[in-house]
């Protein structure tokens, strides 16, 4: 397998990078969707859809992917305490974009103990909830190859992406107050290299290529697993978010929650849709109407004025009351 510089994206992560100089092949012109920018012009070209496939059945839990991720992205997850679990660090963070989650499962049918190790991280949804929720123009973009990326110079650190995400992925940094997550190594993909995690994976449990190729590969893997007795093996490429550009092969695809609570049917929450949809439209319309309505009434209507007569009556009232020696009884 080679990487052809004439291709619009790498077809694999394992080959060596191209030796010819290569301009970045992924830029602002390839953005199909950007947060808080509803009138974005359509890109002039359509890149081939890419995907990273994570075959959980082949994962040995070595964490080479985590190391490669931290190395490529130059992140330094803080050193934590050993609390007797294999996850390290304990959670995704602004300095750790991917995390091996270890689940121990006793299969009631076979009586076997199974270690279900899932590499957690951004799924690169076709319909990204983070992008929908984000209020900062251009802070979250989606490229035509399917990669969802955070543009940190535009991020304001509000954390709305956390509420928008159906997978609980983004983390806001306490240092620079910007949100971080897996980039699908967009900077590597732009120059013909696959993601660092896929490159480092010793069992090729993580592979990278076009979405089409990855689906074909995943189907073959599912077939293989089924022949080995995993009759519920399948692909996790959830339709509720339009499919994802990071997807899994699971031994037990009928029970994704076994894999450290991978959601059964992830989709952008109806609450988020309602907040970003009707609430915004109706709310702004109501505010606009109220502002214009009062302005027009103020300009064209008659003001409520106090007459000179009222002033005279007030004076009479005050003088009458104060002339009385004692306060009146309660009315």
């Amino acid at each position: 397998m080679t990487t052809d510089p004439n291709l619009d994206s790498p077809r694999t992560a394992v080959s060596n990078p191209p030796v010819q100089p290569m301009p970045a092949n992924l830029g602002a012109g390839d953005v199909v969707r950007a947060s808080a920018m509803p009138d974005l012009p359509a890109p002039e070209r359509q890149l081939t859809k890419v995907a990273k496939l994570i075959d959980v059945s082949k994962c040995i839990g070595c964490k080479a992917c985590q190391s490669a991720c931290a190395e490529w992205n130059d992140t330094t997850p803080p050193i934590e305490h050993n609390v007797g679990v294999y996850e390290n660090p304990s959670d995704l963070g602004p300095e750790m974009f991917t995390l091996m989650r270890f689940a121990e499962y006793e299969n009631p049918e076979t009586g076997n103990f199974e270690w279900l190790i899932r590499k957690d991280g951004c799924m690169h949804c076709e319909d990204p909830g983070c992008l929908k929720a984000c209020p900062a123009p251009g802070a979250i973009v989606q490229y035509s190859n399917g990669i969802v990326d955070f543009i940190h110079e535009n991020c304001i650190g509000c954390g709305y992406c956390i509420s928008g995400c159906p997978f609980d992925i983004p983390r806001v940094s306490k240092v620079d107050h910007k949100s971080y997550k897996c980039t699908l190594c967009s900077d590597r993909v732009a120059v013909g290299q696959g993601p660092a995690c896929a490159k480092a994976c010793p069992t090729q449990a993580i592979v990278f290529g076009t979405k089409e190729d990855m689906i074909t590969h995943a189907n073959a893997r599912v077939e293989d697993l089924k022949s080995r007795g995993y009759e519920n093996a399948g692909i996790y490429d959830p339709a509720g978010v339009g499919g994802t550009h990071v997807f899994y092969v699971l031994q037990h695809a009928d029970q994704p929650n076994l894999y450290s609570n991978l959601p059964e049917d992830p989709k952008i929450s109806g609450v988020v849709q309602g907040w970003k949809g009707p609430t915004k439209t109706v709310g702004l319309a109501a505010i606009g109407l109220a502002a214009v309505g009062t302005l027009l009434h103020g300009l064209l209507g008659r003001a409520n004025r106090v007459s000179a007569e009222d002033e005279v009556l007030a004076e009479e009232l005050v003088e009458t009351e104060q002339a009385q020696p004692q306060p009146r009884e309660d009315v």
Partner: protein, 229 residues
């Protein structure tokens, strides 16, 4: 010194008789009101920027998105405590009274400027009471939901599903409080002679007679102030 104050605060008083000028808000209350008002306006500008992409440019007033995001909840806390102070001073005379129903029933006459059918009122009419209780209720909702979505200091206070609901509630409550704010400002402008109650602190006798006669009457019933005082 105990005074019968069913329709007025003990500090309200008639300043002069010819012409009648009535003191409505002391300096402290006015300053308190303006701190609250400025906070609300700043919150409205920064909040609207996060509410709609078309208004995101408003973050420029605060020095950019990051600063606006940082400042918004802090001003929210200032507003909460400022309003709390205002609430303590104003709640008693804003309690509903029977004449409020009559006033609401004849709201049409008020807008047409035929106020003969309207009942005599104490310091506040039902509209002002609606603003007061509406603001109070919405501010409680906004500070509660606001803390739940305050990423910088309370990132793990509530679960993500709860946070989504808090975001929705916060934005709906914000729209409602902006509507109340517009109503409040416009009512104060439309009813001429009102603004000076919050600037100079006093209103004319005619204004008090026309809009809050029971309040004026109660103040007039008090022993006149010794001119030497």
């Amino acid at each position: 010194m105990t005074r019968r104050t069913q329709f007025s605060e003990s500090g309200d008083h008639i300043e002069t008789i010819d012409p009648v000028v009535v003191s409505r808000y002391r300096g402290f209350t006015r300053a308190n009101h303006w701190v609250t008002a400025i906070s609300l306006i700043l919150l409205l500008l920064s909040g609207l920027a996060f509410f709609s992409p078309s208004l995101y440019f408003l973050t420029g007033l605060f020095g950019g998105g990051q600063t606006a995001r940082w400042l918004h909840p802090i001003i929210g806390v200032v507003l909460f405590f400022s309003f709390l102070l205002l609430f303590v001073q104003l709640w008693r005379l804003n309690l509903p009274r029977p004449e409020d129903a009559t006033w609401v029933g004849n709201i049409g006459e008020l807008i047409r400027g035929e106020e003969e059918k309207l009942p005599e009122l104490g310091k506040y009419n039902a509209g002002q009471k609606l603003i007061f209780w509406g603001m109070a209720g919405l501010i409680v909702v906004l500070i509660g939901s606001g803390i739940m979505i305050w990423e910088q200091y309370f990132p793990d206070l509530v679960s993500i599903p709860v946070r989504r609901v808090a975001l929705l509630i916060h934005s709906i409550a914000a729209v409602l409080i902006i509507l109340l704010f517009i109503l409040h400002v416009y009512a104060a402008i439309w009813t001429r002679g009102t603004i000076r109650a919050m600037t100079r602190g006093s209103v004319t006798g005619g204004w008090a007679y026309k809009h809050h006669r029971k309040w004026l009457r109660e103040l007039a019933e008090r022993k006149p102030t010794d001119p030497a005082e």
